[in-house]
Symmetry: C2
Subunit: 164 residues, 2 copies
Amino acid sequence: MGLSIREAVPGDEATILGFIKHLAAYEKLSHEVVASEDHLRASLFCEHPKVFALIAEVDGVPCGFALYFFNYSTFLGRHGVYLEDLYVAPEHRGAGAGKALLARLAQIARDNDCGRLEWWVLDWNEPAIDFYKSLNAQAMDEWTVFRLTGAPLEALANQDKASQ
Amino acid sequence: MGLSIREAVPGDEATILGFIKHLAAYEKLSHEVVASEDHLRASLFCEHPKVFALIAEVDGVPCGFALYFFNYSTFLGRHGVYLEDLYVAPEHRGAGAGKALLARLAQIARDNDCGRLEWWVLDWNEPAIDFYKSLNAQAMDEWTVFRLTGAPLEALANQDKASQ
C-alpha cells in the first residue's frame, strides 16, 4: 500500500493524542499538553466541526498527522488554511509523509478557494524551517504573535460591558 | 449613547471594507487588499459563517471594528479566539474603543470555553505593542509565521495524489 493520506475518523483520538504528545515533547512543551481523547472527539467529530485532521499512513499504519482549521484574510476577503500541528514519527521521516500531508492541505486550500496556507514554526527548529523553505514558503519575520491567556484574559473579559 | 460594541450585520460591508483599507494603509500593505463588499458579505453573513466581526460605535456612528475566527490549540484540546484585524479610526483613538473591542473578544472567548485570545502584530507597530503589553499579553517571540501562497501553493497542491 505504501504511503497514503486520509481524513481522521472517530476512533483516531488516541492515535492523534499520542502524536500531539510526541510533538510537544519535541518542541519541549510537554508541560502545556492538557488535551484528552474526549477533548479531541468533541472538537473533531461534532456536528459542525471547526477543526479537522488528516492521518498519514504507511501500509495502513498511522505514522503522522496534520491538524488544521480555516483562518481568514481581510485583505484577500477569503479564507485560508491554517496548519496547527504537523507531525511524522521519527522512524518514518524522510519518506515523504510530511510533504504528502502538506500537499493534501494545499489541495484542500484549492478546493475551498483559499488564498493561503499558513502555520507557525519554532525559531530553533531548523530541519522544519529548511523543509518549509524548500517549498518556497515565506517566513513572515516582521510579524510577532501575541497571546492572552489565563488570568490576564479573564481580567480583560471582566471589563466587557456586556458581561456586567 | 457614548461608546458601544455590537455584532456586525448585513449592511456593514462597506463600513468594514473601509476600515480594512485604512488599516492596510497604516500597515503599508494597501497593495495586498483585493477584498470586496461581496467577499465580506459571503464570508460574514452566510448560513454557517467561519469568521465574525464586531463594530465599535460612538454615539451610534461606527468608529472601528474587530474581525475574528476560532483557532485551535492541540495542547489544550480547545478552541481559541483569533483576532485577525483590529482597527479604530485615528480621530477616535484614546477613547477606549480598541480596549472595548478586545474586552468583548475576551468575553466571547470565555463564553465559548476558549483558552486563548491570539493575534499578530507588525514588529514596528510600537503603539499597538505597548497597548497589548499593558493588557499583559505575551509576545511569542520564539515563533515565526510561515506562509505559502500563489504559485508555490499551487505547485504543492499539484503534488497531492488525490488530485491526480
